[in-house]
Symmetry: C2
Subunit: 318 residues, 2 copies
Amino acid sequence: MMPPTLQDIREAAERIKPYAHRTPVITNQSLNERVGATVFLKCENFQKVGAFKFRGACNAVFSLADEEAARGVATHSSGNHAQALALAARMRGIAAHIVMPENAPQVKKDAVAGYGGKISYCEPTLQARKATLRRVAESTGAAVVHPFDNERVIAGQGTAALELLADIPDLDAIIAPVGGGGLLSGTSIAATEIKKGIRVIGGEPEMADDAFRSLQAGKILPSEHPKTIADGLLTSLSELTFSIIQSHMERIVTVSEQGIVDAMKFIWERAKIVIEPSSAAAVAVLWEKKIDLAGLRVGVILSGGNVDLGKLPWQRAS
Amino acid sequence: MMPPTLQDIREAAERIKPYAHRTPVITNQSLNERVGATVFLKCENFQKVGAFKFRGACNAVFSLADEEAARGVATHSSGNHAQALALAARMRGIAAHIVMPENAPQVKKDAVAGYGGKISYCEPTLQARKATLRRVAESTGAAVVHPFDNERVIAGQGTAALELLADIPDLDAIIAPVGGGGLLSGTSIAATEIKKGIRVIGGEPEMADDAFRSLQAGKILPSEHPKTIADGLLTSLSELTFSIIQSHMERIVTVSEQGIVDAMKFIWERAKIVIEPSSAAAVAVLWEKKIDLAGLRVGVILSGGNVDLGKLPWQRAS
């Protein structure tokens, strides 16, 4: 696989335009004062299915030739990518086959089914998920759309940074959370191609710091037993996202669990928007001030806003 | 006191323009499907101090002649109006004297102090609050700014509807929550003057239904012991707001506590914005479908987004 180019990202933006939201960029004075920078929040929590994942899935689905598309798409995921792929497929009028572990939360099963996804259940192991996906893809002829190890998906994720820089051209830095690295890859290509010298920074939980360690080691070191409240960031990099990030980005900054929770609560309280912990991992880079961004104009890509309101991390603290 | 005119509201809009946010209007397809109408949410949760109250307070503060303003402003309130008045006064560079009961939550005291308000504490009775306010006003010469029984305040609150109708001119109906009636008064004057025949509806908790009962009786019947999660709507109408509402509005619809909580949670989950229960009381009019608004284009004024995240009504239900 080849990394997408800025041109691929621009084409993705045109392709998904009729289906995806152009999300707003918001600012918040309290946040600026707290972190000592001028922050521009790109609100992918307002994106379809509540996450940036819709951009990549949508670009992948609408990039398929008609003949290929007619056989549907498939993935294994129990998260936002599954919902995003199901919705994008429905918009194109094709089938989406989603492989999920039997023990996935009912609310996630319902969400995928609600977007018309056809669910195939499997044992809750990575091996079973891969085997089941292979079987489903072979029997249906569906195109497999990986959540991040896919150029079309990465190009789609890069459209968020494209829009952000169109709205706020004079950014000094841009921060995105990093899990599998699809969003950070697309962001880093778009940002560095559009604006030479812009600093691209990944925000990663200390408790799932494979990207940080991999960049230091110069080779992929997957997380063994990652455990973080930022449940969208548990995944490790792929070869493709590792190579893109390695060549396009300034650095990964790791953030603490407490920093994620505190930044998340602050955004809810002050900006009055619902963001998920993975979004807060990017905000926490500013919040914890581990690197000097004082006085700069910093874009932050808020990955999404899908949280279980019945299980908020600050409930016990009240 | 005379009700403000549309012209007063337009002048208020010009007056507060440099200080207040022009809040966005958002739509949400899931909400539309759930309630069977096309809903336009005017997001006063994104207003300064997190509530529409800033509009009225700001208009009152900046309407004062210089000489009068120099002596400051005063009010008794422990809610959003106190913060709004303190911030507006700070923006004009004058003092705000806020009378609060000693037992007000620390977070509210801190918020008012944070905006530079000078707090005078009193016993937690309405009598003590009024007496203390009178004493403060006499000793300082400050202009008293009542949270809703004030034409300037009502004119300011009406600017939210003015903006909403400028953005979405072809509304069939507009819903606002009703407590003391300042927001609903301003909304009903603006809406009915701008668009003949528009239906203006107030959303009121069943558990604090003084406006509903007062309109039925044709005279003010204050709530005796109101008790609702929508803590911004505990207040009863004044003569001024009663007379405006009586002459400019279609009807009050009462909503259940469960309807308020369910509508609030739905908005957080689907629209990804933080709204307070008072906002949800307006949404609940659509949610509970007690009147037929099917297929209509309905504006809803979300009053604000100030909630204690440590005490959410659905926590126990999880």
